[in-house]
């Protein structure tokens, strides 16, 4: 058969590899700054751009989408060409994918710094950037599928199955979760509200972990691990079963982020059981990876690439066991809202994604630069410092999480909360936070050593931009299954059918969970006393979103005695129906705020307290780790947006009266003057047009309506 000669595009691989290293360091350094802000809150520097709520999304997005994202593209662009025995489908698409992705990252960092955010975790990008993400993602998929179709091999290998699942699912998730109505270029309201928004958001959030951090990396593992170990894959059968089981089951498990929330119980149950059923399919990947190393364990001791891979795969196994554990209601009651979640996420991010990314880079950079890794010693040092870093990062957080959860739940013999002041439970964790920062710093030190080692490798070598290869052309094969050909083997010859079937498989779970929340009214029983926000409160809420308050404060009281005693009424689905977006949060670095405005409630504070607290939290509590928000007192509220915001809310179904947009600012000023007058009576002079007034108005609204309904279930009826 005639051999065709063609060239692998190594330049695009190199570009993505450089971007991976650069954004990796940036994202992790921002993470370290956040960790230090727990110990020294003054490291927010008193300015908006470096305050926790704004830079936390920079850290998460930079690590996930910039570091891991570029790492994923590096590995896919390298392996896909070789697995398909073909150059990438189109060089221009490759370039658009690369530069487009970097542009998105820069835009993300800039918009977050300036407080332009949707307030939805891991989906904070505003609509114009969201559209760009969708376009670039489709470019990537087009380029990938084009390459697969042009391939010179009969079958597509398991790594490619995972790449395909990644592409289609992320596309569906991103588009569905980002649907919003713009108020302006930099502001939009999601089309979903409250419970529905929460479910869609965590269906997205959970599956971003599944299909951005897991499936592409399993694909990379299936290529780079056997290549580096020079061993055959342990079990083809296992790869088939765990692949399909994984992509089918994963999509259902989103509600485990919302256990004991206002989400209907049946949806929570689905979140629990589908998470538990995920253990085996997840472990299928780990088992297939580790057993592939049988016969090569002596080389693991020698080869840094394999070392990184073994720890990565082990970390994957650990976090995919821990995940289902945390998804049971018993464990979740303890772990949720604490640093347990943060520890869990970092075992995955630092161990699985971080270490596998570096394994891939250590593998492919010497190869495309036609040289050897500059220093094996340095790579080993990186490995050990990194591993220590992961341990120092995670263990204190687990310890702290259990400490804090116990303190939240402890009662005295008289039946009162033992630690009614939330701050006590934070102060207690200070040593753990310090140890965590040390762990993070160690990990970054390892990364810097790794980057240095790779730079020296690159300097010692020379890029082979066009790598010649040859393979026989693909003979068009029988469309029908051959005799003795397994059904899956046939499907591996049919990438388009494969893609369509995978899409159907991933759509099932999402549809079954999300659609009933729209169609069946009893899922969200209405509460008559819950009314839309006033214009001032709406503006205040948007400031709350802008400042990323949700990164530290929840708005979701769980139905536990320890929470209803601390905060007040537990969360009801009907109280969030006008919340575009929902702001339930996922971590309590500070107390829950959803009952803040209940006069006579346990959390109530007067206006003057909020003013003083925003101006200087440490004046009221020296140990407080709340950042200063003094600019809210200086800056004027932007009144030009009020009317438009009301109209968009009306469009989304919020029942403001007809023509309300025209009088909204008048009403806003009346309420603002009331708050300013109250502050004046307490000796605080502030103009009613300042942002702080809107923020106070919003905080003082929280929980008011649902408490007005009383706690008797009779007043809360389904319509």
């Amino acid at each position: 058969m005639e051999n065709q000669t063609f060239y692998y595009d190594n330049k695009i691989v190199k570009n993505f590899a450089y971007a991976t290293l650069f954004w990796g360091v940036v994202g992790m350094v921002v993470g370290l700054l956040l960790a230090l802000q727990f110990i020294w809150p003054s490291l927010s520097f008193g300015i908006p751009y470096t305050t926790f709520g704004r830079i936390r999304p920079i850290h998460t997005n930079a690590v996930i989408f910039a570091f891991v994202g570029n790492g994923m593209f590096t590995g896919i662009y390298y392996s896909l060409q070789r697995l398909c025995k073909a150059r990438m489908f189109n060089d221009m698409l490759s370039k658009i994918n690369f530069w487009g992705w970097q542009l998105i990252i820069v835009l993300a960092a800039l918009t977050f710094i300036f407080g332009i955010t949707t307030g939805k975790e891991y989906a904070e990008l505003e609509w114009p950037v969201d559209i760009l993400v969708a376009v670039i993602w489709i470019v990537f998929g087009w380029n990938m599928i084009g390459t697969i179709i042009k391939r010179r091999t009969a079958h597509i290998y398991v790594a490619i199955w995972f790449y395909i699942a990644t592409f289609i699912t992320i596309a569906v998730l991103h588009v569905t979760n980002s649907l919003a109505i713009p108020v302006g270029l930099f502001k939009s309201y999601p089309i979903y509200a409250g419970v529905q928004d929460a479910l869609v958001q965590w269906w997205y959030g959970h599956n971003a972990v599944a299909f951005f951090l897991t499936t592409p990396f399993l694909g990379l593992m299936y290529y780079f691990l056997p290549k580096a170990a020079n061993r055959p894959i342990y079990s083809y059968k296992l790869s088939i079963v765990h692949f399909w089981a994984l992509i089918f089951l994963y999509i259902w498990a989103g509600p485990h982020h919302l256990l004991y929330s206002a989400l209907p119980d049946w949806a929570q149950s689905l979140g629990v059981v589908f998470s538990v059923m995920l253990i085996a399919p997840s472990w299928g990947g780990m088992v297939n990876g580790l057993l592939t190393l049988r016969g090569a364990w002596d080389r693991v001791r020698e080869d840094p690439v394999l070392k990184f891979m073994v720890v990565a795969v082990t970390a994957y196994g650990m976090s995919t066991f821990e995940g289902p554990l945390m998804s049971t209601k018993t464990v979740n009651a303890i772990s949720h809202f604490t640093d347990w979640t943060v520890g869990h996420a970092h075992i995955g991010a630092l161990g699985w994604n971080g270490f596998l990314t570096f394994a891939v880079l250590y593998y492919l950079i010497p190869r495309i630069f036609q040289t050897q890794l500059f220093s094996r010693k340095m790579a080993n040092l990186h490995f050990w410092i990194g591993t220590l870093g992961i341990i120092f990062y995670a263990v204190p957080l687990y310890w702290g999480a259990i400490t804090q959860a116990s303190m939240w739940k402890e009662f005295t013999a008289d039946g009162f909360l033992k630690y009614p002041n939330f701050l006590e439970t934070v102060t207690q964790l200070q040593p753990m936070y310090a140890a965590r920062a040390v762990g993070g710093a160690l990990y970054i030190t390892g990364v810097v050593i790794g980057v240095y080692n790779l730079i020296l490798t690159i300097k010692a070598g020379k890029l082979l931009p066009e790598e010649a290869a040859s393979a026989p052309a693909l003979v068009s094969t029988e469309s029908k299954r051959g005799s003795g050909e397994g059904i899956h083997r046939w499907l591996e010859r049919k990438p388009v059918q494969f893609t369509i079937i995978a899409l159907v498989v991933v759509l099932i779970g999402g549809l079954i969970e999300i659609v009933p929340l729209y169609l069946i009214k009893t899922n969200i029983p209405t509460i008559a006393s819950v009314k839309p926000y006033t214009p001032l409160e709406l503006q205040g809420r948007d400031i709350y979103v802008r400042e990323g308050c949700y990164t530290c404060h929840s708005q979701q009281v769980r139905p536990f005695r320890s929470e209803t005693e601390r905060y007040g009424e537990y969360a009801k689905a009907g109280e969030y129906v006008y919340d575009h977006p929902f702001q339930w949060g996922s971590k309590r670095n500070g107390p829950d705020l959803s009952r803040e405005g209940v006069v006579g409630g346990r959390q109530y504070r007067p206006n003057s307290w909020h003013y003083t607290h925003m101006l200087n939290p440490q004046q009221l509590n020296a140990q407080s780790i709340m950042p200063v928000y003094s600019w809210l007192i200086k800056d004027d509220l932007d009144l030009s947006t009020t009317a438009k915001k009301i109209r968009v809310m009306q469009f989304l179904g919020v029942p403001y009266p007809q023509g309300y947009d025209k009088i909204a600012n008048d009403e806003l000023m009346i309420q603002a003057r009331g708050i300013a007058d109250d502050l004046k009576s307490q000796g605080i002079q502030v103009e009613p047009t300042k942002e702080i007034i809107a923020m106070i108005a919003y905080l003082q609204r929280l929980g008011k309506d649902v408490h007005a309904a009383g706690s008797s279930p009779a007043t809360i009826t389904g319509k």
């Binding site: 083809y236 016969g295 009614p420 307290w609 009221l620």
Partner: protein, 195 residues
């Protein structure tokens, strides 16, 4: 090249496991090993668990949903609101003066009260408690009363759901000891002068 029906069985040199013929992607081979038995059982076990879970919680509903869990928990705990529901203060009460009570009172003060009245009682959001003025009465009994029932519209919350009667008396007694002290930056007097 016919890749599916080759009859010769190739084996992996190191493990002796059967290699799948025709499965070669960029020199990566695949073995014909079956699914590990323990793995299959683990998977089946989680599926059985899930079916039972959904059956128990969502079909026959014999296990409690979260609202019922909460009701049960609350019922088991009983009530915990401490005394004093009357609208008037008992001004005949006498403040505690023993060191352990005052020490306990100070601890409560530092955790709960200083966030509005500041550490020395000089006041900031809440009134100055060291001067000779008072909004709700100057007697110890007035302090106990206002701490118990609160004045929510002014920002003083009712502490009876968070502190026991003894604790309220301890912290009120500690406040008595602050009267007449001179912490820095005192808040201007509020209320009526005490006689």
């Amino acid at each position: 090249m016919k890749i599916n029906n080759q009859k010769t069985v190739e084996k992996d040199e190191l493990t002796g496991d059967k290699l799948l013929s025709g499965h070669e992607s960029d020199n990566i081979r695949e073995l014909d090993n079956s699914l590990p038995k323990w793995w299959v059982w683990l998977f089946i076990l989680t599926i059985v668990f899930s079916v039972i879970y959904i059956f128990v919680f969502d079909v026959i509903k014999v296990a409690p949903y979260q609202q019922d869990e909460w009701k049960n928990e609350m019922a088991a705990a009983g009530t915990n609101a401490s005394g004093q529901t009357s609208l008037v203060a008992d001004t005949t009460l006498i403040a505690m003066s023993d060191a352990p009570s005052l020490e306990a009172g100070k601890e409560i003060w530092l955790k709960q009260c200083k966030v509005c009245h500041l550490e020395g009682g000089q006041g900031l959001v809440g009134p100055n408690l060291t001067d000779n003025f008072s909004i709700y009465g100057c007697k110890y009994g007035n302090l106990v009363h206002i701490t118990t029932v609160g004045a929510p519209e002014k920002g003083m919350i009712s502490w009876k759901t968070q502190l026991s009667e003894t604790q309220i008396k301890q912290v009120s007694s500690y406040v008595v000891t602050l009267q007449g002290t001179t912490p820095p930056n005192p808040k201007a007097p509020q209320g009526e002068p005490c006689k």
